[in-house]
């Protein structure tokens, strides 16, 4: 059995606490720390004051391709890439710090943060294993989440070329196009 470093454990606990605070599902914590399931469960109850929600994680890339989620996911991923390019961060720390900045941006614009931290974490995994990527919009030049092999020359993003009925809803915190 390998000897456990207390410092490493402390670091993992503080990461887990940050993730729980952001609303992460238990599966994220299990995957990103070496802490046992029992300890994570106890930690979750202590931090969140309730039991974690059960059930499978969303596993499909489809959600990221729908109109509003795609815009939210693109904002998060641009911030995440920025952090990764400007400093050397552990992968999970980049997700935590990037997600905090994403929350700030959406709240500053009065928008509902549609992207959960669990989805943000999944998104980074999807990009890492090549199931999703970013493509430059031919109109505004911004980078947006797309399937791989999108034809870059003709690609127009969800904000430059929204679908016909997009952004007409009146729900508070939704992205509007009038």
């Amino acid at each position: 059995m390998r000897s456990k470093s207390i410092l490493t454990e402390a670091k993992q606990i503080s990461r887990a606490v940050a993730l729980i605070g952001l609303g992460a599902r238990l599966q994220v914590l299990e995957s990103e720390t070496d802490l046992s399931y029992e300890r994570l469960l106890r930690l979750y109850k202590e931090v969140a004051g309730k039991s974690p929600s059960k059930g499978q994680l969303p596993f499909s890339t489809d959600w990221f391709m729908t109109w509003q989620p795609n815009i939210h996911a693109s904002l998060f991923l641009n911030i995440h890439e920025y952090l990764n390019k400007s400093s050397a961060l552990d992968e999970i720390d980049a997700v935590i710090k990037g997600y905090q900045l994403y929350l700030e941006e959406t709240s500053a614009q009065g928008l509902e943060p549609l992207l959960s931290v669990t989805r943000a974490w999944r998104l980074v995994k999807f990009v890492d294993n090549g199931m999703l990527t970013m493509t430059k919009c031919s109109k505004c030049g911004g980078q947006f989440v797309t399937h791989p092999h999108e034809i870059a020359r003709h690609y127009e993003c969800a904000l430059c070329n929204p679908p016909a009925r997009a952004g007409k809803g009146k729900a508070a915190g939704a992205i509007r196009m009038h």
């Binding site: 920025y82 614009q109 505004c140 030049g141 509007r176 009038h178």
Partner: protein
Amino acid sequence: MNADQILTEIREANLSYLMLAQSLIRSDREQALYRLGISEESASLIAMLTPAQMMKIASGNTLLCRFRMDEDDMVWGLLLNHGKSAANDATARLHASILLAGRHQEAA
């Protein structure tokens, strides 16, 4: 504004900027690089500044911080949201944020 006033105002703005930058860097270095749009090297230098050094750097006739969007017409257009309804302000601002977050080359 006379020349003295200009110098005073610039020094005040520089000092506020440096103090804010230093506290952002000290509280979360990586997020500060994103917020400030500066390189890791600049961040290390700013983090180490003493109050006396800050005063020295702040005085002068030029500002230390500059615009992030330079002459990017697309970003300016979205930020100002010309001729569009107020309902779509937040959307345009969000679009600008996506474009600005994608510009990390300048940070290096």
